[in-house]
Symmetry: C2
Subunit: 259 residues, 2 copies
């Protein structure tokens, strides 16, 4: 792609990216992923996946559409109602929103668990350290003493007292196979993905079609507003959310938005 | 993105990617770019740019649409008619289609010139070596003894007897600023880019909205078929191509294709 490339690659710190740049969010996202690769947090393929996402975000207009905001509110309600909510962290999530995920975990009293597609002990440790540097207290995923059924060995590893036992899981930017396997375990699954037709949002109870750098702070904000709500109110928020309509609206926006 | 990630990252050689995989072209492209980054040919941001392109290719249906094939034929005619045709090579082009660009240079008697957005002597040498390993004879771009007007210093460097003097240039995956500056120099410009609304195809005489791994072999094939054509026939091919309609058809396909 072309225009997209017209800011220098030599930005050292994200503060150097001008906030009034028309492609600010895209440049910030790319910068954070690039630093993630350099720090050993993000797999090189994560850079490609993020680029792919950025094209869908461009077609969405790089903003949180109303149906995505509804999904973020429903996600907050699910996390607040959960007995054992877990937020899953992969290399792109850690690079893009480490502090934001720690803040969400705090707001809804959830655990953070590192869960990688390309799993190595070094990357897991680097990600756990990175999350702690950004305010996370406890980070799960290092035990890997349980398995998600119906996935091959390395990709199925989870913590027994984390994702394995969770009733509600937030799995942003998740691989389709793992999203399906988690769905088959009967968990309430919240997915963040910019392509409404990919498998992960299709199997999710709450598909959030939004950029993760907008989505996670938005879920946290909704959770704070809903903190005083009782169970009936939270259930009403959840029942008011229509997942099929949200997916349709995202697709419609991609097709009809300004290119 | 999700589904997209469900083939292992541990493919060592591209022959290991099953040709009947539904995402074969996308996986092949990603694999080549990844190897390019590892070899020092491709900038890390090239991985992101390629991911972005892959989303547009997905929306196009991952095939050469008829208007793109028309553009590829017109590109072949322009290159055959040119006095000094030059094919510009950046880090992504070198990683994705090194042998294919060498074959095209041979078919239309053009020069290859390395031309980088993030220019370092090491990357230029690595790319020139990589092209030679893939069959290129001569590779320009190491002299850098001329400048494209209206671009900042590093990004404007070209060879005096290469892009600077060229009458027809093929600039695949080109940055918008440089595409505009080349256009202002009065060159006939052929651009390959998967986003029909980005600046580079918008300023091109021949915008090719297609994946480079399909587009370059297609231009070569057209050039071979047109090799015996006389000047009038080549001019007729060029005049029969409608750039505005080609851009519109690509946009229409992105909007209406199966997601």
């Amino acid at each position: 792609m072309s225009d997209y490339d017209s800011v220098s690659a030599d930005v050292e710190h994200e503060e150097e990216i001008p906030e009034n740049h028309p492609r600010y969010q895209d440049l910030l996202t790319r910068h954070r992923i690039e630093r993630g690769v350099e720090k050993g947090i993000t797999h090189l393929q994560g850079m490609h996946a993020e680029g792919r996402g950025s094209a869908f975000d461009y077609l969405l207009g790089e903003e949180t559409i109303p149906s995505a905001d509804d999904a973020e509110r429903a996600a907050a309600a699910h996390l607040l109602l959960a007995d054992r909510p877990v937020l899953s962290i992969n290399g792109n999530v850690a690079a893009l929103v480490p502090g934001e995920m720690a803040a969400l975990a705090d707001a809804v009293d959830a655990d953070l668990e590192v869960n990688l597609f390309n799993r190595t002990p070094e990357r897991i440790r680097a990600i756990a350290d990175h999350l702690r540097e950004h305010g996370a207290d406890e980070v799960k995923g290092l035990e890997a003493d349980a398995h998600i059924p119906n996935l091959d060995h390395e990709r199925s590893k989870v913590d027994a007292d984390g994702i394995y036992e969770a009733d509600v899981v937030l799995v942003p930017l998740e691989d389709g196979d793992r999203a399906e396997a988690l769905d088959e375990m009967g968990k309430i699954e919240i997915v963040i993905d910019l392509n409404p037709l990919s498998r992960s949002p299709q199997v999710a109870d709450v598909p959030i079609v939004d950029n993760i750098i907008r989505a996670v702070p938005s879920i946290t904000e909704h959770a704070r507003k809903l903190a005083a709500a009782d169970e009936d109110e939270l259930r009403a928020v959840i029942e008011g959310f229509d997942r099929d309509r949200a997916l349709e609206e995202a697709e419609e926006r991609i097709r009809s938005g300004d290119l």
